[in-house]
């Protein structure tokens, strides 16, 4: 096992009772990347993160954090964490929560710096119990970054955030990656993964079913979407052998096909007045749905 990866799972198996949560999973997090772990509920995302954080031990295989077993103190001090379900002391103020977590790290930001970074300086003196659900997530995010971690684990970080808060969080994440940190993100918002990630892993039933860049994952789905404005009838086009489905959206036709070149050639031949032609590849969301359905 090398130091080339900042976090790594090798052939990891983890069973809870009769459920095989992870079944021979391999994952690698490289320096300076934003790595998204996607998968339907119960795919094993949280278990994988818990193993990398040393909160669980694998039944078989190995977990490594900066080349060391993750329950060692040294690698964990370089990690920031934002968990999905946690309730913090309601009586403490935001600044106090951040100061406490910052004290666990050798060279943290000051609470003021950390709050400025995540744009929550205005909440500094508020008791945690008085915050909205979204503000609480912002505080937890600030706690995750306040130790200047090299590797950040974020479990569904943007749930409950409004658009502005989410944009600020994304900007902070991009800034952290530019400065050399790596981020492991689990999210249900596929546009989040699409917008931020260098690499994506798709899990299903404890196995890795696809991994690569966002473009590589999207390319796994060969289907493309053609939209155009045409006098041709939807029923007529639906009979073409290359066409999978056709729908009419106001004046425009939406055609799904795995052979877009052939369909476009035929469309142009059949309607010389055809306008607003557009060909799109499947988005990450669609690729995700298709991949996880195939694997089911």
């Amino acid at each position: 096992m090398s130091n080339e990866f900042w976090a790594e799972l090798s052939s990891v198996k983890k069973r809870f009772g009769k459920t095989m949560a992870l079944d021979g999973l391999d994952l690698q997090v490289r320096p300076g990347e934003l790595f998204s772990v996607l998968g339907p509920n119960g795919a094993g995302k949280s278990t994988a993160i818990s193993l990398l954080l040393g909160l669980l031990k694998p039944d078989a295989g190995a977990a490594r954090l900066f080349g060391l077993p993750p329950f060692h103190v040294e690698p964990r001090r370089q990690v920031g964490v934002m968990m999905q379900e946690v309730t913090l002391a309601p009586e403490l103020r935001v600044r106090e929560h951040i100061a406490l977590v910052a004290s666990y790290y050798p060279r943290p930001f000051t609470p003021a710096e950390a709050m400025e970074l995540t744009n929550i300086s205005s909440l500094a003196s508020r008791p945690y119990e008085k915050l909205s659900a979204g503000q609480k997530r912002q505080v937890q995010f600030t706690m995750a970054v306040c130790g200047r971690p090299k590797l950040l684990f974020l479990d569904e970080p943007s749930v409950g955030l409004d658009v502005r808060a989410r944009e600020t969080m994304w900007a902070t994440l991009r800034q952290l990656v530019r400065n050399g940190s790596s981020i492991v993100l689990t999210t249900h918002y596929l546009e989040e993964a699409e917008s931020l990630s260098n690499r994506v892993a798709v899990l299903n039933k404890g196995r890795l079913i696809a991994s690569g860049t966002v473009n590589e994952i999207r390319a796994l789905v060969v289907r493309k979407h053609i939209t155009c404005s045409t006098a041709l009838g939807a029923d007529q086009i639906a009979t073409w052998p290359e066409v999978e489905s056709v729908t009419r959206d106001q004046q425009r036709l939406q055609i799904s096909t795995s052979n877009s070149e052939a369909v476009v050639r035929r469309l142009l031949a059949a309607d010389s007045n055809l306008q607003e032609l557009e060909v799109r590849r499947a988005g990450l969301a669609e690729a995700f749905t298709e991949l996880t359905q195939e694997a089911a």
Partner: protein, 273 residues
Amino acid sequence: MMNATSIENPKPFDNFDGSSLARAMPTGRLLRAYLMEARFESLRMFRVLGFSIPFLVLPAALYLLFGVVLFGDAVRNDPAAGKFLFTAFVVFGVMGPGMFGFGATIATEREQGLLTLKRALQAPAGSYLLAKLLMTMLFAFIVMATMIPAALLLGHLPLTFAQCANVTAINILGSLPFCAIGLFIGTRASGKAAIAFVNLIYVPMMHVSGLFYPLPKFLRAVSPVWPTYHLQQLVLAALGMSSYGKTTIHVVVLAGVTVLLTVLSIRRLARVG
């Protein structure tokens, strides 16, 4: 608009060093982390008025009610009775913070995922429990800091400086077994059940250990099962009053309860979380 300056301004990252893997934690910073944990745990328990007011104010208030307002004349004629009442309320004062501060809060915080987060964040080993322990000791110290002036100034008890110092030390250390009982319950029960379990021990311990009043003979025989009994005997002896049993036995029992329950609880925490 989001705050563009905070994002574009790279100042907070100036010292970011992406290449070095080793980041040692200087001893000073490690100590500071323990202190911060204890400071914020105490601060937050002071802010929970339902916890801090009863546990900080009640011992002295009840002592003054019984020892001065209601039975002041009787106590003045019988200093031994006055001292006994004082020992009862100082022991009463350290039971609550330990049992409720540990028991109920640990059970709730375990349920709420806070312990898991602290483990994931690499909070220094044991800092979470140590913070609760120091919080309890601080509460015990404050109880003594209110009880002693009340006894000297209003209760007119003839206590020497050495006696006051001894009783304070005994009582602060004496909060340990109550912390251990709370810890034991808090690591096993759910948040809601923990409060009920703590009360299930707290209330009988207060009434049938002979803390406040002489017990009928059949109860007196079993009073040594309660840590309060042993702590009160130590406090009585420190005030030069007649007490039951040997000091060594009392210390061994209190230390034994503390160690046994703490070991069982920590094993449970390590296994189950």
